[in-house]
């Protein structure tokens, strides 16, 4: 539990369409290495918006954002893409696998982009990641040939492939049935406690948030409880 991986200072965000809405109000918080943090709140309270700002995909906001001690302000599109590639893993509500590729290739893509390792090495690492979730037997199937729950597990493997500083999830179990969301939850538990992976998960599932180290509760664009 050393060093701040992610630090948000005085983040404000407005939507202007159709009229001005102050969606995020003065958000201040930080995440330390190894923390398993969940963000909860009602629909429309701005938790997803916050996540996209923290993930560097949304750059239209006021305030400061530091990832790994480096300010994200004023970075170019390409630089931010590199930060996402190297330091952030994503899991979305919808799996977003590329149907044109095999499961294995889907997991490998971000690593191929980062090109820290050779292709053989990346393939080996991808299979290792799939093994954690028992998905290695599906490695050579096309991404559209596996079930929804399996897809989400592959998506998590993809998020982990570059050993990111932090994995961000936007309702990762929101689209799944009870059984599969339990599996996904167990996976997050496993990677948080076994692999000491830093996690920031947006959810509206109280059971899910109850199992995390720290819960950020949001209401009307503010963090009301840390």
């Amino acid at each position: 539990m050393d060093g701040k991986i992610l630090e948000a200072t005085a983040i404000n965000k407005f939507f202007y369409n159709p009229r001005e809405v102050h969606i995020l109000k003065d958000i201040n918080f930080s995440i330390r290495k190894g923390e398993f943090v969940s963000v909860v709140g009602k629909s429309g309270c701005g938790k997803s918006t916050l996540l996209y700002i923290l993930s560097t995909m949304d750059t239209d906001f006021q305030g400061g954002l530091k990832i790994d001690g480096i300010s994200m302000k004023g970075k170019s599109d390409a630089e931010l893409a590199m930060v996402r590639n190297e330091k952030i893993g994503f899991v979305f509500q919808f799996h977003y696998l590329l149907n044109e590729f095999t499961v294995l290739k889907n997991v490998m893509l971000p690593a191929l982009k980062l090109k820290k390792y050779s292709e053989q090495e990346i393939e080996h690492r991808a299979i290792e990641k799939l093994k954690i979730f028992g998905m290695d037997k599906h490695a050579l199937k096309n991404a559209n040939m596996i079930s929804g729950g399996e897809k989400q597990r592959v998506a998590i493997a993809r998020a982990l492939i570059n050993d990111p500083l932090i994995v961000m999830g936007d309702e990762p179990s929101g689209n799944l049935d009870k059984h599969n969301s339990q599996i996904v939850f167990d996976i997050f538990q496993k990677i948080a406690y076994e692999f000491k992976q830093t996690l920031l998960i947006v959810t509206h599932d109280p059971e899910f948030s109850a199992g995390t180290d720290r819960v950020l509760e949001m209401e009307d664009g503010r963090i009301i409880k840390q």
């Binding site: 996209y52 590639n85 979305f92 977003y96 590329l98 570059n162």
Partner: protein
């Protein structure tokens, strides 16, 4: 860098294969237009060259001759007594100057040493009568230097029967226009009687038929060697009426014609003045072929544009996730440009190939016409420049067809897509 390119290639290829039917349709569009472009231009320019060749190949770029005309300075103007007077002369007639070009050998040798000149062929034009039984038929005998004429003006191409070189080797021989020969009912080896305007009569042996493709020309024109013609006219062996000059660059003809006219003190006519209409026709036909070909390509370009646009809408999610996992807008742009250029490249390669095939096929179709004795099949031009233009233009079209969709894809905001679900 290399790995990154390969990765983008890989993704582009997968997207292409995922929509292989659409891709195929787009590529076929390009292939078809390039095929038609190549075929159309090859055929059209082949035809152009042939038609132009009918006249232009046989027309000297510059013709030096003496025109029958009135003297520019009438005798009275040379008189010192009447120099200051206004001299009014009625009923001027052309002077009795000779058609012969003076000092011919010096002129020819000067021309041959001129760097801008490709070749020189002297010529005598003689008005004659062919005597057939009781009737005389008017005609023109061109006295030519057989070898020079063949080298510069493809004389042998138009000699349909007999061997053109016999004209040089057999003394007192003639190659008759095919139509004239038919009219006179003579065969190869027969003797025709020819009378010059001055009344000299010579028997000439027919060693060949000449067919220019222009019937009117073939009715009157015949060819004999320079020596034979000089003999017929009763002139010395330095009697030459025309000097035909072929230039390295035809475009220089008008300016050089003026230069030679002054230098040698003769009349000079350039090919542009003599045959302006041919060049115009050629230009217009080529222009039409290019417009049709390029229109086809642009239509194919719109096809690619549509297909890429559709692909981007379909692949919105994939683009969003690629961006979320660290692919920059530039990478996405590269991926879609790669798709577009690949369609263009493959379409173009097949198009050039099929264009060549179709051209060769047209080249095999029999095309027999009495007017064009040397042509047996449709003429096709295989000039590589059309293949280069076709290929280049295909790539340029597909580049622009891909440019805007790719730009759009690169600007897709992943947040909007991902939130929208």
């Amino acid at each position: 860098m290399k790995l990154k390119l390969i990765l983008n290639w890989d993704i582009a290829l997968s997207l292409l294969l995922a929509r292989w039917k659409q891709t195929l349709v787009a590529a076929i569009g390009v292939t078809f237009s390039i095929t038609m472009f190549i075929t159309l231009l090859g055929f059209m320019t082949g035809l152009n060259d042939m038609l132009d060749g009918l006249i232009i190949n046989r027309t000297p770029h510059i013709k030096l001759y003496n025109e029958i005309q009135a003297s520019e300075k009438q005798p009275i103007e040379l008189s010192s007594v009447h120099k200051k007077d206004h001299n009014i002369i009625h009923s001027i007639k052309p002077s009795a100057g000779r058609l012969q070009i003076h000092n011919v050998s010096a002129i020819i040798s000067t021309l041959k040493h001129d760097e801008r000149v490709l070749g020189v062929a002297p010529k005598i034009t003689a008005q004659v009568f062919y005597n057939v039984g009781a009737i005389d038929i008017t005609g023109v005998i061109n006295g030519i230097d057989v070898e020079a004429e063949n080298n510069l003006y493809y004389f042998s191409h138009y000699v349909t029967s007999g061997n053109y070189i016999d004209l040089k080797n057999i003394p007192n021989s003639i190659i008759l226009g095919k139509a004239a020969a038919d009219k006179m009912l003579v065969k190869l080896g027969d003797i025709v009687q020819v009378t010059s305007v001055k009344g000299e009569r010579i028997p000439l042996k027919v060693v060949g038929y000449f067919q220019s493709g222009l019937q009117d020309l073939d009715k009157v024109q015949s060819y004999a060697s320079i020596n034979t013609t000089q003999k017929l006219l009763g002139e010395s062996n330095n009697y030459i009426t025309d000097i035909q000059v072929k230039l390295k660059d035809m475009e220089q003809a008008p300016s050089l014609a003026k230069e030679f006219a002054v230098l040698f003190n003769v009349d000079a006519e350039d090919i542009q003045a003599a045959n302006a209409q041919f060049e115009t026709g050629t230009k217009v036909r080529t222009l039409i072929s290019y417009s049709v070909g390029i229109t086809l390509l642009i239509v194919a370009g719109f096809g690619i544009y549509n297909i890429l646009n559709m692909m981007i809408y379909e692949k919105m999610d994939s683009i969003a996730i690629l961006k979320a996992t660290g692919f920059s807008g530039k990478d996405v742009n590269n991926i879609f440009m790669t798709i577009s250029i690949s369609i263009g490249l493959f379409g173009a390669i097949f198009g050039l190939f099929f264009g060549f095939l179709l051209s060769s096929f047209i080249d095999q179709i029999p095309f027999n016409t009495a007017a064009l004795p040397t042509i047996k099949t449709y003429p096709v031009n295989y000039d590589a420049i059309y293949y280069v233009i076709g290929g280049t233009f295909a790539l340029i079209t597909t580049y622009f067809a891909g440019f805007f969709p790719a730009k759009k894809a690169s600007k897709i905001d992943p947040v909007i897509i991902i939130r929208g679900k």
